[in-house]
């Protein structure tokens, strides 16, 4: 039991990474939510002394390697997004799940904007509006992830 308690946060982040790179049909792929960002957001809001910018940075390196982007792109965006959540965690905790979903949507939009800007600087890619579909799917997914992870946190008594 003690082992799972200690490894719960890295384990959920690993699962999120796997979900982030899981091959999907091209029609569904556009709507893939930002698994890593959502899971990190939950842990940052729930346990800001366990998971914050440092964990986000490390997950960012892993994401960069797995997605084959220039090293540091996802680190930058994830650190920035998680910083905003960690700086306001006391206020965000008091919001209802639905309000939190909207905040997650805004954070996810910022995350994608930063990703796009960085990659635009590096390779000059053009902007397409489907880059923003994950914002919607992340918002829809948030209540469910929140519920599952809160249940896991309470059962395993992680603090």
């Amino acid at each position: 039991m003690i082992r799972t308690r200690h490894y719960a946060i890295p384990l959920t982040i690993l699962i999120a990474l796997v979900l982030q790179i899981m091959p999907l049909p091209i029609q569904v792929d556009t709507y893939r939510p930002d698994w890593v960002l959502i899971v990190l957001s939950y842990w940052t809001m729930a346990l800001p002394h366990r998971a914050n910018v440092g964990v986000a940075f490390i997950s960012g390196v892993a994401t960069d390697i797995l997605l084959g982007t220039a090293l540091g792109v996802h680190c930058f965006a994830l650190s920035l997004a998680v910083y905003i959540l960690a700086a306001n965690y006391q206020r965000l905790r008091n919001y209802s799940v639905w309000q939190q979903a909207i905040i997650i949507g805004l954070i996810s939009a910022l995350y994608h904007a930063v990703l796009f800007w960085l990659q635009h600087l590096l390779t000059g890619i053009p902007f397409q509006l489907n880059y923003l579909w994950p914002v919607v799917s992340s918002m829809v997914l948030w209540p469910w992830i929140f519920w599952i992870l809160r249940k896991a946190r309470r059962q395993l008594n992680i603090s």
Partner: protein
């Protein structure tokens, strides 16, 4: 209470450190290619996750294979037998032509082309970042995959190896925005550069003057210039030529022949570079 403010550096300093380190990483990786050698190890470290992510599709494949009906198998067998028959007929003609070509090349004292080493690889994962078009294949440095090796499917050129891991490697597709491939028109041998546009079914030809003879339906084959892709493999078909005289160049787009959105089995082609010694055995061709 144990909060983030009671131990370690403050949140703002952590953010500043993370952002500075990210920028350093980006510059080191993108501008100076500092991680070229260590990428192999990083990819190998992360490859268990990739295999794990690939598990559902592997399971689906296996179960669909188990559940295939007998009629389907018979039908597929029939189709493949027909295909083998047709192919072997073409191969017979091809072998005669090949030997004739070799003789002619010897007469001209040009180097005879040796068949390149081939290897079949399977698609492992498709990169889902919308900004880049890359795939991961299940062969790596252990099977002698090397950087910028050409990758084909049954219709044409797919892309080139961009990162090698120990058991898998990453392939950049010809339609990626960062990729360009030297081609020539099969009809009249005019050379072009076909660059990716970031959308999976389009390439653009750069800097094509208005006067160049190029038409819709022209087949573009790899020209072998640049020593990355071997010569003569089909790449794309021109599908739109717009000659707007108010612009400096004609805008020409082409559709890749390889079915980049439904790749499954891929062919890795060993290029001449890898076997330099065996390619130039014909003497006396150096100063001709």
């Amino acid at each position: 209470m144990d909060t983030i403010f009671t131990r370690g550096p403050s949140l703002n300093i952590r953010l500043a450190m993370a952002l500075v380190m990210s920028v350093v990483l980006i510059i080191a990786d993108h501008k100076f290619d500092a991680f070229q050698s260590s990428r192999v190890y990083m990819n190998s470290l992360m490859s268990p996750l990739q295999y794990f992510a690939n598990l559902p599709s592997v399971l689906l494949d296996v179960s669909s294979q188990r559940l295939t009906s007998r009629e389907d198998l018979v039908e597929e067998n029939q189709r493949l037998t027909n295909q083998v028959l047709l192919m072997s007929e073409r191969l017979q003609r091809f072998e005669v032509l090949q030997s004739e070509n070799d003789k002619l090349r010897k007469l001209l004292q040009a180097p005879v082309k040796k068949p390149a080493k081939k290897m079949v690889a399977e698609l492992m994962a498709v990169d889902n970042s919308p900004f880049s078009q890359q795939i991961v294949i299940n062969k790596g440095a252990l099977e002698d995959v090397y950087l910028s090796q050409s990758v084909l499917d049954d219709k044409g050129i797919v892309g080139q190896v961009m990162e090698v891991g120990s058991t898998n490697s990453r392939v950049v597709l010809i339609t990626d925005v960062t990729h360009a491939i030297p081609v020539r028109s099969a009809r009249n041998d005019i050379r072009f550069i076909a660059s990716g546009t970031g959308s999976i079914d389009e390439l653009t030809l750069e800097h094509v003057p208005h006067s160049v003879d190029i038409e819709e339906g022209d087949l573009l084959v790899s020209s072998g210039l640049g020593h990355v892709f071997p010569e003569g493999y089909p790449v794309a078909i021109v599908n739109r030529v717009v000659r707007d005289e108010s612009r400096p160049f004609a805008s020409v787009t082409a559709r890749p022949l390889a079915r980049l959105d439904r790749l499954k089995y891929l062919l890795l082609l060993g290029s001449d570079e890898g076997q330099q010694g065996e390619v130039l055995p014909v003497e006396g061709e150096t100063n001709d």
